[in-house]
Amino acid sequence: MQSAGISFLESLVSEFSPGTSTGMGLPKDYHEQCHSSMELNYLKEFYCWAKSAALNVADKIVSCYANISEEKVCSRALRFMFQVLNWNFKSSPSALDNSSSKSNSGSFGIRPDMGLLKKFERSLLEPGPLWHDALLSSGHMLWLLNFYAIVRQKHSSDMLWFDSPLAVSARQLIVQLCSLTGTIFPSDDGEMHIKHLTQILSAVIEWVEPPNIISGALRSGRSESEMIDGFHALLSMATLTSTMLFDNLLRSLRPFGTIHLLATLTCEVVQTYVIKNDDEQTWSSEALDIMLEIWTVILGRSGNDMKISAEGISSASNLFSTIVESHLKAAAESAFEDDSEADYFHVSVSRRDETLYAYALIARAAVETTVPFLTRLFSERFALLSQNNERMDPTQTLEELYWLLLITGHVLTDSGEGETVLVPEAIQDGFSGVTEELQHPVIVLSWSIISFAKQSLDPKMRNAYFSPRLMEAVIWFLARWVDTYLMPIDAAKGQLGISGHDEGLQQHPQSSKKVLLSFAGQHSQGETILDTIIRISMTTLTSYPGENELQALTCWKLLVVLVRRRHVCIHLVALESWRDLARAFANERTLFSLNARLQRSLAETLVCAASSFKDLETSNQYVRDLMGPMTAYLVDISSRNDLKAVAQQADAIYMVSCLLERLRGASRATQPRTQKSIFEMGCAVMNSLLTLLELYKNQSAVVYLILKFVVDFVEGEVAFLSAKETSILVNFCLQLLRIYSSHNIGKISLSLSTSLQSEAQTEKYKDLRALLQLLTNICSKDLVDFSSFSNDAESTDIAEVIYVGLHIVTPLISLELLKYPKLSCDYFALISHLLEVYPEKVAQLNKEAFDHIVRTLDFGVCHQDVDIVDKCLRAVNALASYHYKEKIAGKEGLGAKALSSEESNGEFQQSILSYFLRLLIQLLLYQDFRMELAGSAADALFPLVLCEQDLYQRLVQEILEKQSNPAIKTRLASAFYALTSTNQLSSSLDRNNRFRFRKNLQVFLIEVSGFMRII
């Protein structure tokens, strides 16, 4: 009976929470009312009913007299309580109180941090003050914890009990209550909250302590669910408290802090985790995930929130030793396994990096001991290799070194994707006593790795020990290290960044920091290190044939980093080794054996370095020397007499592809300083490219490369060109477009194989994307123009070009192709841009092309992608505004085009603008319209309404008449009235008016979506 009652409540609650409700065909605001009335009036009551149901049977369960159905009632009741606490509480005034809770959080260590629990799909629980009596003051918590503890005690010998419904639901409820926060706690400086957390901790600690016994029990088959729940509880606590408070929570119960416990637990988990191959230990990976998340939470903070006691530091140091030792052991054991993670550095990298990042945070919490520890381990292995006289198989040591390089890289540097990389704070501020360069542990460690890497230059050492995999780690490490430590920005400016929080400690750290930041500086050994690194890069590019992974890392990570900062480049281009690299690239054949894409990247890097020359002419000469041989060679090929016979041979195609990739790389590196020489480079090959495009019309791969080169070339150059140069470029592009289109219009590829067919389709799609990008890039000339002077007589009309280009490209684009998201994005970007900038040109397009554009816009407005819809709305706006303005001025506007269209299905029978008006209103009212589009929708709707006043009135009438519910009808009518009549809206298309209309539409949508949206 009780059980049935609870399941009734269960389904009731799930029906009322929006995520799990079933569709009923009622308006959205009705649902919202239900939600809040449920929350305010019933939810707590339900919770109390379930609580008393549980209480009723609890005694019996505790005294073992309960029968099965009573146990069931109890577990259902607990489960229901958990469900209630998962309710998405809305009425809690947390938003208002945020400021006050923040102000007292700093001093007392309670810090609500919403985002952090998301990783494990949990959220903080903020039911608000109304729930205080139900959850906190009535001793509910204490009862629940005691209840679980007693029952647990009784079943201590039963291994299966931990997974029984009663145990699971009780623990779920406890963990959920752990994330309780917000205004339910009185403002007593967090006292109540801390008491609450301590209370739970005292119970939860039984689940996870002592760590070695627990993990032993798990290994012998006990279910891990209780321990995992315990970890989740710890994670909640870590999220809600400052690091210091988190550490202190345990001190009232144990002689040590929470961090110490956490470290011991993590040790156990890591040790189990690294013994892989064991299917029964899968829990360890989940457990490790949670553990590392806790560490990331408590150590990833900055400032006062992250102060650790000395005991915590030593725990972290011990933990890190255990981590490294277990992983080294595992590495040695797995050294002979086949490499199954083929794409390690690209695919699984993010997950592994996350783990290593968490390890690194632990290491940085105790830099004073962990960095020397790493140095020792590394030197030991290095020495082992040096002593080894090829008698012993070094593979195990290589794998250990590989792992050491990875973890060291993470400890010493941050990944710094997309931002300026700094030396990690913990490393900057640590080692306060050190003043001598050679004693600084970080410097010692760096040197030992660099001198290790240097060994790879010796062919004998390289062949014996530097396997491609080890070399990958070396290159990866160097790339990160160079970015962080080589000629760092702080040191370059001659001043040290002083971060605010270490004011008290300033005297000592300053000197150690100075030492650290300057040892690889511009006036120190920076240049020597740079030279070594370039030589190592050369080695990987030439002495590891076919090792794509390694060479990709060298080109995409290491070399790119070298040219990123200008002051490093200045030293770079002066080095003999760099000149060797450039010479090899320009004049020798060896680097053609690299994968063509890597050659592109290499060209880009080499050209990038040109910007560091002081003198403009030197920069350009450098580029000419570098790229001259490439252009000469292309010209040479394309002017051969026997070209036709030779060109189709695979080796010729390969050479041409490599050269095109190199040119493309160079144009991607275009900068103001090198613009001139790159333009010369492009001009030199223009005719050759046209010949090649003609010749290779059936080699889609080459065609694509040609197009991509031109796209990048135009993008890099267009803003700088003078009128004359522009016309050269633009004419070339037009010829290119014509040739391409003459080869491809009306062509059907025939193939039996569907996969080859779809490959052909994909190639075509990529070509088109390139063409669209090309047109868009040319367009940008009108927006951004840095050219020094312009002479009107000579200037080309960009609009004219686009006009022609559009005629060429549109027939190639089908609605079918627009289903490719990237292509349609590019296409609509171009169209909306065109319509905004040159509406008059579009109006002049021939009928076929114009209709085509309108049809694609129609398609785009109903698209899923917000971006695309936005672009289409902008295009419609441009179209309608143009028409309206022209008409006001007494001109024709879109004229005949807007009015007629012979579309057979009747949709286009009316004018195009009225069609769009109808479509847009339909979208706004009846479909799941996204509010972020409201702005652009308003901009599009306004001119449409102005153009088609009569139709608009009729449409509104129609919609109102269709509505049967009188209440809704009135609301709708007044909303429509407000849309066009409030805010002093007038019928001109100026900025103010548009702005007013935007506001009106916003209000309109908010009002209307409540009753028009049916769920």
Binding site: E547, A650, L752, E759
Partner: protein, 159 residues
Amino acid sequence: MSDEEHHFDSKADAGASKTYPQQAGTIRKNGYIVIKGRACKVVEVSTSKTGKHGHAKCHFVGIDIFNNKKLEDIVPSSHNCDVPHVTRTDYQLIDISEDGFLSLLTENGNTKDDLKLPTDETLLAQIKDGFAEGKDLVVTVMSAMGEEQICALKDIGPK
């Protein structure tokens, strides 16, 4: 770029070789490769290592460009693979004869009459229908390693 190195080996005229050796590591998806004596288009390349600290090897999945069968091969990435010379030539379609051969017009005005119609129904229909409608059709013939096949069709007639 010194001259003597960079001229194509002019094998084009006499007894042209059907393939060209290229390092496995440089062959990309969408390129061509010879697997088990057949010219294939590469649809998938993956790399792995022979043992953790061994050398890289490439795993190619190719589709035979003539019979569309899927073929696979594993090659150490520093070794050379055979890459077929795949050429495509355009011819204007003059006639389709009763016995299933096409009559094609070459660039220099001769006719080429040795190319058979495809056996597959749909391809056949596409060619025959187009021809029956009186369109001016250009067929693209792909040839590699001594085999030929029609691979594309284009209507060049006036609009």
